[in-house]
Amino acid sequence: MIRAINDALDVMLTRDPNVLMFGEDIGFFGGVFRATDGLQAKHGLQRCFDTPISEGGIIATAIGMGVRGLRPVPEIQFADYILPAFDQLVSEAARLRYRSGGEFWAPITVRSPYGGGIFGGQTHSQSPEAIFAHVTGLKTVIPSTPYDAKGLLIASIESDDPVIFLEPKRLYNGPFDGRIDQQVKSWAGHPAAQVPEGHYTVPLGKAAIVREGGDATILAYGTMVHVSLAAVEMHGVDAEVIDLRSIVPLDIDTIEASVNKTGRCVIVHEASRFGGYGAELSALIQERCFYRLEAPIERVAGWDTPYPHAFEWDYFPGPARIGAALNRVMEKN
């Protein structure tokens, strides 16, 4: 996936002189995860450069450039470190178009690696998507495959709205499915790792049904898409697995159709459960599919604790926990 992201950035730098990117260590070095590897050398010092360690400053600067008509793609090194820029994102990027009567807006795309599974401890593992989803005026996009990563990232950069583009860092180098007893897989051979050359987009707000099924619906995004597929495989439930791809805008139609069909639903995310994005999904589904639901909607999520270093695999929602939830919605206990 990291190469697909690099490719998307390269394509956009090549196509559009208004695109530029900056962030901590992304210039000469190419980023701590190598997302911008080679881009400064290829496109020049001014198109992809390092910044002071100041997330607030990075986003403020990006907004100012966006106001001029540029399309900056700032990187925040870890999503945990977006918080110093939270005010800029919420009070400025998200509000600018509205409050100025449409005179100004900030077409910025904030890329940031997020999520767990790499033994990164509390401040290199968190999933902050819920606090963005609640902010009116921000879009939040989360890919789960190389194909989607490239297409969604290009669509995000081309969007005239501010986009938080969260990259599941555990998927950078392979489709991790939570089975920690198995050999680490690379993307090689995965169908969605075939990334076309050049420009293409995956539209924001369109979910993907990554597995059709009739017994239950699983809603997931990012790494949890792969973990959910593994859970389905391991637990023999014919579940439909939906990859949301963007959580704002949300593809409510696809979700509603699926749950109306299956009558059962499990929602999965890495972020802690209370007040997480799963709560909104659960609320929406019960509002729209109430008379079709056969069992309570289940949420499988991180525990309501900070992300704990040594307990990585106890915290991370693995296939076993998803399987148990599937069993509960199938009333198989």
Partner: protein
């Protein structure tokens, strides 16, 4: 570890809380403020390195002397026409402010903020910078817009939040936005736009054009982290931006000691970033113009950013919600040593033979009439509560295109068709 025994006879420790020299009931005092004579500060070449300019932040650039004459190397030698434009803008600002403040008392608007005593700042800078430059304002530099002849009716409509409000009823009165007038969107939260100016300016440099940005921050707001982030980015990328601290010495009820001036100046912050820092008499139209032009020339020639402290005094209350007699002597403004910027510019023009008391009185009358008739016109559209933009405007502009939530909620709120 060293023994702590030797500390026994140290003076006893106490938490220091800054206090202003005078509170209500006390005799007002500006004794701590040194006012050097006009013309006493050197004017270095705009190409000089910041490290050669470390004396400037501790001085006060003044051009107009007590007789209304322009003195010394910073005299910007502006044309009488430009000076009269500035005077008009300042006077309009003052008259408009007074009228709107009264409109608030009459319930015609929810909120208003005056810039009494600070009119020189926006007016001078607006006239010195160019049409393609961009200012990132606070709520207290409306004279920028008045200097550029922003349509008064639009302004009043915004303040009345009526059907013709150019900001479509979405924003608090006076938190303006006027792109065509080089005036960026203001918002209620402090400090956050300072960094946008740097990004905008970096964008200009990136595109290879010599447009520059100018940003304002109140002295109280400089305590926000955003102030530092902005200066850091401005310095690191040598952004063509002028960063202004309007030090009017008060932040609502808090005197500037709470922003850290007990031992230094705001201009001195520049030294730590390797930037030039100018400290300027903010009530001196000519000094403001001169310092701005110096910084603008420097920025346009690729030498980067300048920090300007505009030393002034907030004569009025913070806003319509404030009563300054609760926290400072009622007559404090009368003791303020740097005078009234309008009066000073007027005297200068008279000294030059380019203005007279009669013309001044006539101008006052003209502007007063203008404001009155504009308010009347806006009142015909409606004041707060009588008239507002169509309800549909509440749902516009959240995103470039509404998503299903907005579409559904518009319907639920009873918005039909174009409304």
């Amino acid at each position: 570890m060293e023994s702590q025994a030797h500390r026994a006879n140290r003076p006893s420790i106490q938490l220091h809380i800054p206090e202003p020299l005078a509170r209500p009931g006390d005799k007002a005092s500006f004794d701590h403020i040194e006012v050097p004579p006009a013309g006493s500060v050197r004017r270095p070449d705009t190409a000089e390195r910041a490290s050669q300019l470390r004396d400037l932040p501790f001085q006060l650039i003044r051009v107009l002397d007590n007789d209304g004459k322009a003195i010394g190397p910073w005299d910007p030698k502006l044309t009488p026409d430009l000076l009269r434009k500035g005077l008009r803008a300042m006077l309009l600002t003052r008259i408009f402010d007074d009228r709107m403040f009264r409109a608030h008392r009459q319930g015609k608007t929810s909120f208003y903020m005056k810039s009494t005593g600070e009119e020189a700042i926006g007016a001078a800078q607006s006239l010195i910078l160019g049409h393609d430059d961009m200012c990132f304002p606070t709520y207290r530099v409306m004279s920028w817009l008045h200097a550029r002849d922003y349509p008064l009716t639009d302004m009043v409509n915004q303040i009345f939040s009526n059907a013709r409000d150019p900001l479509r009823g979405r924003q608090l009165p006076i938190l303006f936005s006027a792109r065509d007038y080089g005036f960026y969107s203001v918002s209620g939260n402090l400090g956050t736009r300072f960094g946008h100016a740097v990004g905008w300016a970096m964008g200009a440099a990136y595109q290879g054009v010599d447009e520059i940005a100018l940003a304002y921050m109140g002295e109280g707001s400089t305590a926000e982290g955003a102030f530092h982030e902005t200066l850091t980015f401005a310095a690191v990328y040598r952004a063509p931006v002028i960063l202004c601290v309007t030090n009017n010495q008060w932040a609502i009820s808090s005197f500037s000691g709470f922003a850290g001036t007990e031992e230094t100046t705001f201009a001195a912050r520049a030294i730590g970033y390797g930037l030039p820092g100018l400290r300027v008499d903010g009530n001196d139209f000519l000094a403001v113009a001169a310092a701005t032009r110096w910084a603008a020339d420097r920025a346009r020639s690729g030498k980067g950013s300048t920090l300007i402290e505009l030393f002034t005094y907030r004569v009025a209350g913070h806003s319509t919600s404030d009563d300054p007699t609760r926290y400072r002597p009622r007559d404090e403004a009368e003791h303020w040593p740097l005078g009234d910027p309008i009066e000073r510019l007027k005297q200068h023009l008279i000294t030059l033979g380019e203005w007279s008391e009669d013309r001044h009185t006539a101008l006052e009358k003209e502007l007063d009439d203008l404001v009155r008739s504009t308010v009347k016109e806006a009142e015909k559209v409606g004041v707060l509560g009588e008239s507002k933009p169509p309800l549909g405007e509440m749902f516009e502009g959240v995103f470039a295109e509404p998503d299903w939530r907005i579409v559904m909620q518009r319907r639920e709120a009873g918005v039909h068709g174009d409304d």
